[in-house]
Assembly symmetry: C2
Homo-oligomer: 399 residues x 2
């Protein structure tokens, strides 16, 4: 019964998300357990003229074996061919489609958080390079699995939970529209207008205020707001995230001050669930990290390199999007980040910046979003003169 | 209930098969569906000091989508990073463990055999280089799956078929011995003695005679018989195939004459089953290929390059081994080749040759074995003077 949704999602991801061109090689990546969608994507890509589909499956159980047994000093080792492959995929101007959603949430529970934090796979830092240089037309789409459905809908039987999650994915990806591509074109037109309006304000900073949150995020002079509609160096338009309801930019990594409380749990690579995260920033750096669960994993992650404890993204999300309307915690950043405004530790998206600001943007081997917005969080813009301008109240735009 | 067999097989493959050394990166590869053994191997490798485990899963359904939909002229394309990865695994002196056994036999049925023959993946030709240069300590072991068990034991219910296949694998891999490593050391000592005796004969050729078969396979002056006990350039002893009951060498690719009838079906990469294969050789080349099923796939495969229609291996197998005793067709070369003497189209193993013969050995992007021996097939050695010396009768050594 999910087969039709799978077919429609594959078609949307290939033709609109990645916008695969005839003759391209397409790299598809997902965790073990996502075979049905990987296969539908491969068939769709070939039907639309792909030269080759390189499908790779990541096995989180193999990662667990590593965290459990490997020597401490080997835990951040990544074979040279992992990065080389990614750079080559960029050089050869391939398309990529990656599947989000945890297949085995909680799998790393009970292991040493410091050791977990040292292994960032399946993320490979060279991915930042090829994305920032706009070499790829790429997309990420969610792929339900029984393990994921069980944590999103623990009150349902396994089959019903999986069916419910697929229905929700169909809804948030607008697959229930007669013409999903037209629906996305309309939504992105709205988000583009909002982004252009925000960019025109030239705010010096944003201020978030709400329960547990009083945070000022400095912006760079050229910080440009964008929605998730990118164009490669070769002019291929693509939608890097489906669904996407956000507008985002790169903040000043030196000017973030105050305290923030995450408004949603997040699942880090490999399955650690972080709940009740609070972070205090000074001079742009996260100087105190606490949480009800998983604080150690976040601390280890932020200790990875100099940029890992600084911000690489700030994004605003209103409540008009489809994800927020479901009132569901998905434990998947691709979905949850579209419920609420968010910030991200780590590497910045340099296409939002110009000139000297490109060098000033945050650099890191990681990029990890966490949600800080919601109906109770007010967002103001702060002008260069120190004036405060309402940007969002109760999840609605004020601009 | 297979869990204990899986653990024992993983331990044998890591400690004796590949003989993984502390600090090595270990590449483990298998088709989707082999997760339980891949994970047990990864855990065992890490416990024995591996620096990193690179587990890759091949999805034959994605291959099917390619054969079905991709443009003709793209079908032998392989992304550059596939070969680069293999060469780098060699340069970095990694260990590799690959899992045999078809997960989806018959999956390619009904597709154009010429198109099937052009896609040799998951085989990558650079694998020949790193094996011939003895850079890797490697092994291949069988891994049962429900799909494989169903064709080996069609008379049994799915669960019983899988249980039966695992039991057979445990038996042929000598996991039912109190000390499987000691059992293999003893068997390889015997095969080493036979190999040394064959090498000492310096036969000019071998002659196979049986139902449908009258084949002369010329040998090279330096052809050395070996059993599956290799040593890397760095002195790491390993067992490339488990189980292995054979002694093999590289023939003269220019001097193969006559007709041969395969004594077992074979399953080619991706799931094509070839039954009743007969091949006529002239001047070393396969000039006529027929079969009850799958002849077109073999013909396309042999048309791949100049060496693909010539022989790269001849191997002798007696009936004392454990595989033959089961009287089962496994549809997996790793197992079936240990029932019966066999030959292989394609690339030669150069470690069996010296001096100028290394250049004379067959070169190809493929290496595909097929079984030609059995109790009804007599094997003679032919001396340089033309004298015939019995080598095998009724599956028993005559030397």
């Amino acid at each position: 019964m999910h087969e039709e949704i799978i077919e429609r999602l594959a078609e949307l991801a290939v033709t609109f998300g990645a916008n695969v061109q005839p003759g391209q090689t397409v790299a598809i990546s997902g965790e073990i357990g996502k075979e049905p969608l990987v296969r539908a994507l491969a068939a769709s890509a070939y039907r639309h003229g792909a030269k080759f589909v390189d499908a790779t499956y990541f096995d989180p159980h193999v990662k667990r074996a590593r965290i459990e047994h490997a020597a401490d000093e080997t835990l951040d080792f990544v074979p040279s061919w992992y990065g080389e492959r990614v750079l080559e995929i960029g050089r050869q101007r391939c398309a990529t489609i990656s599947l989000s959603g945890p297949t085995a949430p909680g799998l790393l529970d009970g292991l040493d958080p410091t050791r977990i934090g040292r292994d960032q796979l399946p993320f490979v830092k060279e991915a930042n390079t090829v994305v920032n240089e706009r070499q790829l037309n790429w997309t990420a789409v969610p792929c339900p699995t029984p393990g994921w459905a069980a944590i999103v809908h623990p009150e349902l039987e396994p089959e019903a939970a999986l069916a419910r999650l697929w229905e929700q994915i169909a809804h948030v990806c607008r697959l229930d529209e007669p013409d999903p591509v037209a629906a996305w074109e309309a939504r992105f037109a709205t988000l583009t207008t909002v982004s252009e309006r925000l960019t025109a304000t030239r705010f010096d900073a944003l201020r978030f205020e709400g329960p547990g949150t009083d945070l000022t995020v400095g912006l760079l002079p050229s910080s440009r707001w964008l929605c998730a509609q990118f164009t490669t160096v070769d002019g291929i338009r693509h939608s890097p995230n489906l669904p996407s309801e956000e507008t985002f930019t790169s903040p000043d990594p030196r000017r973030v001050e105050g305290t923030v409380r995450a408004t949603k749990p997040l699942v880090l690579g490999g399955g650690s669930i972080v709940r009740g995260l609070t972070v205090r920033f000074e001079g742009g750096r996260a100087v105190a990290i606490d949480a009800e669960t998983g604080a150690d994993v976040v601390r280890a992650m932020c200790a990875r390199d100099e940029g890992a404890a600084r911000l690489g993204e700030v994004a605003l999300v209103d409540r008009a999007g489809r994800v927020g309307g479901l009132d569901t915690v998905f434990y998947d950043t691709l979905l949850d980040e579209n419920v609420a405004s968010h910030i991200a530790f780590g590497n910045a998206y340099r296409m939002t910046l110009d000139g000297a600001d490109v060098e000033a943007a945050n650099a890191s081997a990681i990029h990890v979003d966490f949600m800080i917005g919601g109906d109770e969080v007010a967002v103001d813009g702060v002008t260069a003169a120190g004036e405060r301008v309402p940007v969002m109240r109760g999840g609605e735009w004020q601009l």
